[in-house]
Amino acid sequence: MLQMSAFKRVVIIGVCLIGLLFAMPNAFYPRVEGHNDAVKAIEAGADSPENAAAAAAWPSWLPSTIVNLGLDLRGGAHLLAEVQVADVYEARIEALWPDVRDALRPLRETVGTIRLQESAPGELRVRISQPAGMDTALAAVRELARPVVTLTGGGASDLDVRAEGDEIVVSLSEAERLATDDRTLRQSLEIIRRRVDEVGTREPTIQRQGEDRILIQVPGLGSAEELKALIGTTAQLGFHPVVGRSSNPDQDPGLRNKILPSIDEEGVYYIVESLPVVTGEELVDAQPAFDQNNRPAVNFRFNPSGARKFGDYTAENIGSPFAIVLDGEVISAPVIQDHIPGGSGIITGNFNVEESTQLAVLLRAGALPAGLTFLEERTIGPELGQDSIEAGRIACIVAFAAVLVFMVASYGLFGVFANIALMINVGLIFGLLSVIGATLTLPGIAGIVLTIGMAVDANVLVFERIREELKTAKGPARAIELGYEKALSAILDANITTFITAVILFVMGAGPVRGFSITLALGIITSVFTAIYVTRLMIVFWFERKRPKTIEV
């Protein structure tokens, strides 16, 4: 006979109710969104009456998670950036030269003179005049290496030191490169996040993708260009000793020097040492300010190690110019007047107030450790998104209505049961989407529409089976039972195979493909649940009340 334990009934009804409860906030989207924003603002300290009113518009004891709308639905900017991780190797290796020199200096008797050689980027070549001392030299340089701290690269050292003829070649080891890449990417992520947060938009997505990429999506932002301007500035600050000035940009600056344009003096180029005395990374604070002539400037302060280096250098080089370099351009090159021991200073240049504020923000947010290349950028206007939502909504409603009518016409009362299950199904999809914080995209809506079409499949399989069983006249209860039993293996096989493709789509896919695979996968789970359990429960309830002698499916 048709039976279902009371416990099972309670669980099925419970799951449906909880799912629908979590789906419900989506029906009041603007209100809940306003509530969420207001709560966030109040937590951040913006306690205005408007915020309080918006927060009160949705009762706090109700769930307030809503489906995240993708950029294609609400408009915004999308960027895929590649972090030039190799930049960091160069800087690291370049910074190593003074240490190598200091390590070899005491060994002059065995190794002879030490001379820095021209080399490929990411490599340091040092020639020694007495190749017989090579082993000693290598050993000394290897002393500089430190173990790499990673989970996988345990025991590896961070430097590869080898001899090539009379040259010592130092480069980063493979393990260190991997570890550096990871660090660079994390740091870039953090800095991009801080910069995007400064503009305070709603729910930006900032995600690492693969080895060296970062995906940035900011809803509601006017254009990808704006976003690029916001995060694209490297803000690489360095204080470099000045070697000379020139008006010829092609002049050979000499080894380990570079030639940089001046930002505010047309046609003036500075030859500076490539290696900065102090970098922006050692900066702890930067504030817009005014210099003694009341021109806009930026005040800064170094951390203790930066302060010491800065202090030592200024003490030794009073009277010589010192270039402040930002992103490859000399902002200013003041002459050192005095020993600056405290580690704080002021950057002057030809700024206006806005520029000095912007510079302070960039310096404070920290420098991106490496440059970014933008591989993909998309701007979707908000109206286009609105149109898409509208179109998607109408299509969903029409699809839904047509399927409902069709099911009732084909299966009568059982069709009604299937329809109720279908509505619960869509509710559950939205509930799940809200809870897991997935993003609904336009292809995602297509996924839901497809689920609507396919969700009836399981019910159709069952109902057709019941019809067949009724022909062999076993009585309605037995026919229903057998119908569910026999249809089960087909339902499972069919849905598992579709689920497999959804999972592969999710793993392999990007952007639109992913959005689609999420709704498809969730739709499969919920539709199997509603088709097998929910309709069955409804049929059981109905059967127990009516006790029909014959049924028509």
């Binding site: 179109a391 998607g392 299509a395 699809a399 299966y411 057709e464 069919a494 493709t501």
Partner: protein
């Protein structure tokens, strides 16, 4: 009175012309491959790299004037197509401007986009740009690669799953149907030159899932009937199983098509290509589960007695005419 798509009792012979249908399918697949290599797919920027700018204006789109405005910028291959859609308002005129990936530039130049927008604005002051999308050649290359891998992996995983659940002959039949569907879909996309982008890959994989859904339901019944009617020839068993599941096959295909057609008509132009791929996929998927998957299963033959040890082990074709 119930709506019935197929009569309660059908006894059609689906394999009477199986040579013809298999031949037709084979020919269609061949034609698709030829089309793919000769005409090629109309790859969107996802796969080709480049920039698309969607323009919207209250005045009529004048493709010639747009082209003339952009030509002096010397951006290489620029294609401009007007978009027609029933969901647009009367004063809504939309066009898509596609600019090829610029030589040597991985990142997309802001100047290029600004220049194009300014040139178009000079032609038509009311023009706006609801979306601008750029994909660099590096990413697009990778997207092609992952898309191909995804489709192959999906087919492989499915082959494996069906082999676990059924017999290898079923798996081969199902995968033949899958390949058939994917190839024909690529064929129609190159024949009609519909834009082929990432979303279409999603559609393609859904077709894989859907076609399989259909095939598996039929095969499930075949397996059941093979156990039930131990003496019936395989051809009869297949026919019986297809006839028994025909009602369900039609119901599901029709409901899914209803949903998809409403999306096709009302869902807006942005996802139309995507929806078209799925509609096509349901047609070929439904067809292939009967006329390709089952027909191949019939030709491969299948081990009948599930309880006894396999007498024909190592000679799987021994019972082709069983």
């Amino acid at each position: 009175m119930r709506l019935k798509l197929v009569p309660d009792e059908t006894n059609w012979d689906f394999f009477k012309r199986s040579k013809l249908t298999l031949g037709l399918s084979g020919f269609a697949m061949l034609a698709s491959v030829v089309l793919f290599f000769v005409v090629g797919l109309n790859f969107g920027i996802d796969f080709k790299g480049g920039t698309t700018i969607r323009t919207q204006s209250t005045s009529e789109v004048d493709v010639g004037a747009y082209r003339a405005a952009i030509a002096p910028l010397e951006l290489g291959d620029v294609s401009i197509t007007e978009v027609f859609d029933p969901s647009f308002n009367a004063n809504e005129h939309v066009a898509m401007v596609r600019i090829q990936a610029q030589e040597g530039a991985e990142s997309v130049s802001v100047e290029v986009i600004n220049a194009v927008e300014a040139a178009l604005q000079a032609v038509d002051p009311s023009i706006t740009f609801p979306s601008v999308e750029s994909v660099g050649p590096k990413v697009s290359g990778e997207l092609v690669q992952t898309a191909v891998i995804a489709v192959l992996m999906a087919i492989g995983a499915v082959l494996f799953y069906i082999w676990l659940r059924f017999e290898w002959q079923f798996a081969l039949g199902a995968v033949a149907a899958l390949v058939h569907d994917v190839v024909l879909t690529i064929g129609i996309f190159s024949a009609l030159q519909i834009k082929f982008d990432l979303a279409i890959i999603a559609a393609l994989l859904t077709i894989v899932g859907y076609s399989l859904n259909d095939t598996v339901v039929v095969f499930d019944r075949v397996r059941e009937n093979l156990r039930k009617y131990k003496k019936l020839p395989l051809k009869e068993v297949l026919n019986l199983s297809i006839n028994e599941t025909l009602s369900r096959t039609m119901m599901t295909s029709i409901t899914t098509l209803i949903a998809l057609f409403s999306l096709f008509a009302l869902g807006g132009d942005v996802i139309r290509g995507f929806v078209f791929a799925m509609i096509w996929g349901i047609f070929v998927g439904t067809y292939s589960s009967v006329f390709v998957a089952s027909a191949i299963l019939l030709r491969l033959g299948v081990k009948r007695d599930w309880s006894k040890p396999d007498n024909t082990a190592g000679n799987q074709y021994a019972n082709v005419d069983a």
